[in-house]
C-alpha cells in the first residue's frame, strides 16, 4: 500500500510543480537557517567536559566587600593571590588548582630561529588529572615538583611539532623567558572550547590553544607576569608583580573537584569558615559572601555563550516556524483541490486511515525533498558562517553526521506535523457531496 501512496504522492507533486517547489524551498530554507545557527549554538553552548562537569566547581571569595560587589551581590569572579594560596594550602577538595594565564616567549634551541610568543597557564600538578587532560607523551608533574618549584613544563602537541618535529620531547629542555624547563609531558590534541578552566581570563573562546603549562609556584618565583584580566578595587600598596601578589586585586582562576553533593556542601561551609576567619583577623570587614558553582552553572553565570548566538538561533527558529505555517497553507490548498479524488476514493470504500496514510506520505515526501535541499544549504551555511561570525566562534561550527541526520529528521517531522491539519481536512471530505457536485 505504501508504495502505491508513494506513487500517488509523486504524481500529485508533479502535477503542480510550482506549488511543490515553493514548499520544498520554504522547508529547505527554514531548516537550513535553523540548523546552521543550531550548529553554532551547539558548538558554543556544549558542555566542554560532560563526563565530569558536575564534579568541577569554581569557588568565589568576597575579598572586596559591599563596595566592590555588582548590583546582584556577586563577589569578584577571580581570586586574589592571598586567597588562592590559602585555599591551595588548606587543600580541602579532592583535587584543585589555582591558575593564571601567562604569555611567555619561547626561544628555540636552533640558532637563527625566531623566538615565539606562546600562551599558556601556570597551574598546579593536580590540574591535569582533575581535568582528564590527555597526554601523547609523558605526564603532568608531581606534588613535590609543585612545592620544590621545579622548572618542568607540559607543552602542547602543536608546540612539540614546532620545536621537536613531533617526536617525544620528554626529558628535553625548552627555553622559556630565558630559563630552561624540562619537558615532562606533551599533550594530545586538547583545546577545549569554551576554555572552561579559565573563562575569566580567556573570555571563553579562542582559536589559539594553550601551548605551555608551568608549575604555578615556579612561575610566581620567576616573576612571570600574568596575562589577561587584573581587576583592582584599590591601588596596590607596592609596585610590580610582587605588589600585585600582596594586593586585593583579583587575577587568579581557581577550580576544585568535589565528589557529590555532600562534598560540595562541606566545601561551601569551608569557604564561609575561611571568610569568617578573614573577618575575625580584620582583613574582611563584612560577613562571608562566598559562592561555589559547578561548571555548567559557572559558565552560565559568566555568560560564556554569546547572546548574539542565542538571538540568531531564536530568529532562525522563527523563520522555520513561518516556513511551516506557509507549508500548512500550501498543503491545505493542494489537498483540498483534490476533494473530488478523495470523494471518489472514500465512496469506493477507502477508510479515513487510508486517506491519512496517503496524504501524510505526500507531506513526508515534500519534507524529505526539503530536507535534502536543507542539507545542501546547511552545508553551505556552516561553511560560510565565518563570513558573519567572529573566527574563534565560527571555527567551532561543524557539519557532522548527527547534524545531517538532525537536518533530515527536523525537515521530515516538521513537514509531516504541518501536514496533519490539511490531512485532517482532506479526510473529512464528504464522499456523497463530492460525487453529487461532479
Amino acid at each position: 500500500m505504501f508504495s502505491y501512496y508513494l506513487e500517488l504522492a509523486l504524481r500529485s507533486l508533479r502535477r503542480s510543480p510550482g506549488l511543490t517547489a515553493l514548499m520544498v524551498l520554504a522547508i529547505g530554507f527554514g531548516v537550513a537557517a535553523s540548523m546552521t545557527t543550531w550548529s553554532v549554538f551547539r558548538a558554543v553552548s556544549g558542555d566542554p567536559i560532560p563526563w565530569k562537569s558536575s564534579q568541577l566547581f569554581v569557588p568565589q571569595i568576597d575579598n572586596w566587600g559591599p563596595n566592590g560587589r555588582s548590583d546582584d551581590g556577586e563577589p569578584p569572579n577571580a581570586m586574589s593571590y592571598a586567597d588562592a594560596m590559602a585555599l591551595m594550602r588548606d587543600h580541602r577538595a579532592k583535587r584543585q588548582s589555582a591558575m593564571y594565564q601567562v604569555s611567555p616567549s619561547v626561544v628555540p634551541a636552533e640558532a637563527g630561529k625566531h623566538p615565539l610568543n606562546v600562551s599558556g597557564h601556570a597551574v598546579y600538578g593536580e590540574f591535569f588529572p582533575m581535568l582528564d587532560v590527555p597526554f601523547k607523551y609523558g605526564s603532568g608533574w608531581s606534588e613535590s615538583d609543585d612545592t620544590n618549584r621545579a622548572t618542568v613544563v607540559v607543552i602542547s602537541a602543536k608546540l612539540n611539532q614546532k620545536l621537536f618535529g613531533g617526536a617525544s620531547s620528554v626529558g628535553k629542555t625548552v627555553n622559556i623567558e630565558g630559563k630552561d624547563y624540562r619537558v615532562v609531558g606533551v599533550l594530545d590534541d586538547w583545546n577545549p572550547q569554551p576554555r572552561f578552566y579559565d573563562v575569566v581570563n580567556t573570555g571563553g573562546f579562542s582559536t589559539t590553544g594553550d601551548d605551555v603549562f608551568l608549575p604555578f609556584l615556579t612561575a610566581i618565583q620567576t616573576s612571570m607576569p600574568n596575562d589577561g584580566n587584573t581587576n583592582c578595587n584599590a591601588v596596590p600598596e607596592e609596585s610590580g608583580f610582587v605588589g600585585l601578589q600582596h594586593s586585593e586585586c583579583v587575577w587568579i582562576a581557581y577550580m576544585a573537584e568535589l565528589d557529590g553533593a555532600a562534598a560540595a556542601t562541606s566545601y561551601r561551609n569551608y569557604l564561609n569558615d575561611y571568610s569568617r576567619e578573614q573577618q575575625q583577623a580584620g582583613r574582611f570587614r563584612w560577613a562571608p559572601n562566598s559562592r561555589l558553582r559547578d561548571l555548567p552553572a559557572w559558565l552560565d553565570n559568566q555568560h560564556v555563550v554569546p547572546s548574539d548566538t542565542k538571538v540568531s538561533l531564536l530568529v532562525a527558529l522563527g523563520l522555520l516556524l513561518v516556513c511551516l505555517v506557509n507549508t500548512v497553507g500550501l498543503l491545505l490548498a493542494k489537498f483540498l483541490r483534490r476533494s473530488g479524488e478523495i470523494g471518489v476514493r472514500r465512496a469506493l470504500g477507502a477508510q479515513r486511515a487510508a486517506i491519512y496514510a496517503q496524504f501524510l506520505t505526500e507531506a513526508g515526501i515534500v519534507g524529505l525533498a526539503g530536507g535534502v535541499l536543507g542539507l545542501l544549504l546547511t552545508g553551505a551555511g556552516v561553511a560560510s558562517v565565518g563570513w558573519v561570525l567572529p573566527r574563534d566562534i565560527a571555527a567551532l561550527a561543524r557539519v557532522d553526521v548527527s547534524l545531517l541526520l538532525l537536518t533530515l529528521l527536523v525537515a521530515v517531522v516538521a513537514t509531516m506535523l504541518a501536514g496533519l491539519y490539511p490531512t485532517f481536512r482532506a479526510s473529512r471530505v464528504q464522499p456523497a457531496w463530492q460525487l453529487k457536485s461532479n
Binding site: V315, A316, V325, R425
Partner: protein
C-alpha cells in the same frame, strides 16, 4: 466596495485566511525585530573614532627579553626616532592601547580622593607629546604634553600622572559646566591628583563591549611610556602612503634591534583592520538578520501567491457568475485586493503586538534596546504592500475569468 460579502466569503475558507494572517503576523514580528537589530548594529559600527583612520596603523612589538625595564625604555625611544625619520611616516607614538582595540586599561575616574564609588570609567592611553599629532586628534582646549613631562613606568607601578589630557565627552561628564580645565581629577582609584591640562575633540575608548557603551568616549591620555612586555606603536603615514609606511616601519624596527617579535599575521594592522575586527560581530549579526528578513519576506509573499491562486482556482465559477451578472474586471480585481488587505490588517494587528512582545522579552534576556515604534509602523506598511503585491498576480488572473465560466460545471 462592500466589505460585508467579503467577510462572509472568508468564512468559507477560514483555515486559509487564518494561516495567511498568522504568517503575516509572525513575519512582521520577526522582521521588525531583525531590522531593529540591523539598525542598532550599523549605528554602533558607524560611530566615529575621532582619529585619522585613513592614514593610521599600529605595530605590536613584543620584547624577547623582558627583564630589563631600562633597556626596554631605551629601545622604545630609539624605535620612535627611527620611525619618525621614515619618509613615508608623518609621526609615531608609543602606547598601551588605542581606540577600538577591544581590551586595554580602563580606570575609575573620581573627583575626590576619598570617593567610594566612581564618577565614571575611562580608557587609559599612555601617550607622549607626539600622540595627538599621530592620532590626528585635535585639542579643543588647553595644551599638549611637553617632552619633559613624559615619564616611563612598568605596568604594575603606581601611576603618578601629574597632568592628563582628557576627551571632551569625559570632560563634559565630569564637569557639565565646562570648567574642567585646570581642575584636578583622580584617575588612579584615588591615588595622586592629576591636573587636566588639555581637552581633545572626540576620542573613542578601546572598550567596545556593550557594558561599556556609557563610557565609549571617555579617554584619558597619561604622559608616560609604558614599559610592558610588549608595546604598541601608533604610526600615522603621510597622506596616501599608508601601504609604504606599513612596509617600511617593521623593517625599520628590526633594523633597530632583532630582539623583538612582530607577529606575521596581526603584528601590523591598519586602522581599517582594527575597525573591522572590532565590529565583526555586529556586521555578522546585521548580515544574518538581513538574510533572514529577505528570505522571510520572500516566503511570505510566495505563500500568499500560492494560497490566493488556489482560491481563485476554486472560485472560478463564482467569479464567472458575478461577471455574467455585470461585475466589471475591476470589481473582481478589487475584491481580491480588498480581501487580502483585510487579512493583512488582521495579521499586522496581531503581528505588531507580537513584535513588541518579543522585543520586550529580548530586552530582559539579551540587554537589547527598546524597539522603536517607527520599525513597527514601517514593518506594517511593508507587509501590507507586500501582500498587495503578492495578490496582484492571482487577482489579475481572476479578473480575466470570462463570464462563460458560469455555465461550465467546475
Amino acid at each position: 466596495m462592500q466589505i460585508k460579502p467579503i467577510l462572509t466569503a472568508m468564512r468559507h475558507h477560514k483555515a486559509g485566511t487564518v494561516l495567511i494572517a498568522l504568517q503575516i503576523a509572525l513575519t512582521l514580528a520577526i522582521v521588525c525585530n531583525a531590522l531593529f537589530i540591523i539598525q542598532q548594529r550599523t549605528a554602533r559600527m558607524s560611530r566615529p573614532s575621532g582619529v585619522d583612520e585613513a592614514n593610521l596603523f599600529v605595530i605590536r612589538s613584543d620584547w624577547t627579553d623582558k627583564s630589563d625595564a631600562q633597556r626596554i625604555d631605551a629601545q622604545m625611544q630609539a624605535d620612535l626616532i627611527a620611525l619618525r625619520q621614515l619618509g613615508s611616516v608623518q609621526d609615531a607614538a608609543p602606547t598601551n592601547s588605542f581606540p577600538l582595540r577591544g581590551s586595554g586599561w580602563d580606570n575609575f575616574i573620581k573627583l575626590q580622593p576619598d570617593q567610594v564609588k566612581m564618577t565614571t570609567d575611562a580608557a587609559m592611553f599612555f601617550s607622549d607629546d607626539h600622540t595627538l599629532a599621530t592620532l590626528g586628534t585635535h585639542l579643543i582646549a588647553g595644551r599638549n604634553f611637553t617632552a619633559s613631562e613624559i615619564g616611563a613606568q612598568r605596568p604594575r607601578d603606581a601611576m603618578h600622572a601629574a597632568q592628563v589630557i582628557i576627551s571632551k565627552d569625559l570632560a563634559r561628564r565630569l564637569y557639565p559646566d565646562g570648567s574642567v580645565l585646570g581642575k584636578t581629577i583622580y584617575v588612579s582609584m584615588g591615588r595622586g591628583p592629576a591636573t587636566v591640562i588639555g581637552i581633545t575633540d572626540t576620542l573613542q575608548a578601546h572598550m567596545i563591549s556593550s557594558w561599556a557603551n556609557a563610557y565609549a568616549y571617555n579617554a584619558v591620555l597619561v604622559p608616560a611610556r609604558l614599559l610592558n612586555d610588549y608595546t604598541y606603536y601608533l604610526v600615522r603615514a603621510r597622506p596616501g602612503q599608508l601601504d609604504a609606511a606599513m612596509r617600511d616601519a617593521p623593517k625599520a624596527l628590526y633594523a633597530q634591534s632583532r630582539m623583538r617579535i612582530i607577529d606575521r599575521k596581526d603584528g601590523v594592522m591598519s586602522f581599517a583592520q582594527v575597525r573591522q575586527r572590532a565590529y565583526e560581530r555586529d556586521l555578522g549579526m546585521a548580515i544574518l538578520m538581513g538574510i533572514i528578513s529577505v528570505v522571510l519576506l520572500a516566503i511570505t509573499a510566495a505563500g500568499i501567491v500560492g494560497l490566493t491562486s488556489f482560491w481563485v482556482g476554486q472560485r472560478r465559477k463564482q467569479i464567472g457568475v458575478r461577471r455574467a451578472l455585470g461585475a466589471t474586471r475591476g470589481d473582481i480585481l478589487h475584491y481580491f485586493l480588498t480581501e487580502n488587505l483585510l487579512i493583512g490588517f488582521g495579521g499586522v494587528l496581531v503581528g505588531a503586538v507580537l513584535a513588541i512582545g518579543i522585543n520586550l522579552w529580548m530586552v530582559t534576556q539579551f540587554e537589547m534596546a527598546r524597539l522603536s515604534l517607527v520599525y513597527v509602523v514601517s514593518g506594517v506598511v511593508v507587509l501590507l504592500l507586500l501582500g498587495q503585491g503578492a495578490v496582484l498576480g492571482p487577482a489579475l488572473r481572476a479578473s480575466r475569468v470570462s463570464p462563460v465560466e458560469a455555465t461550465r460545471s467546475v
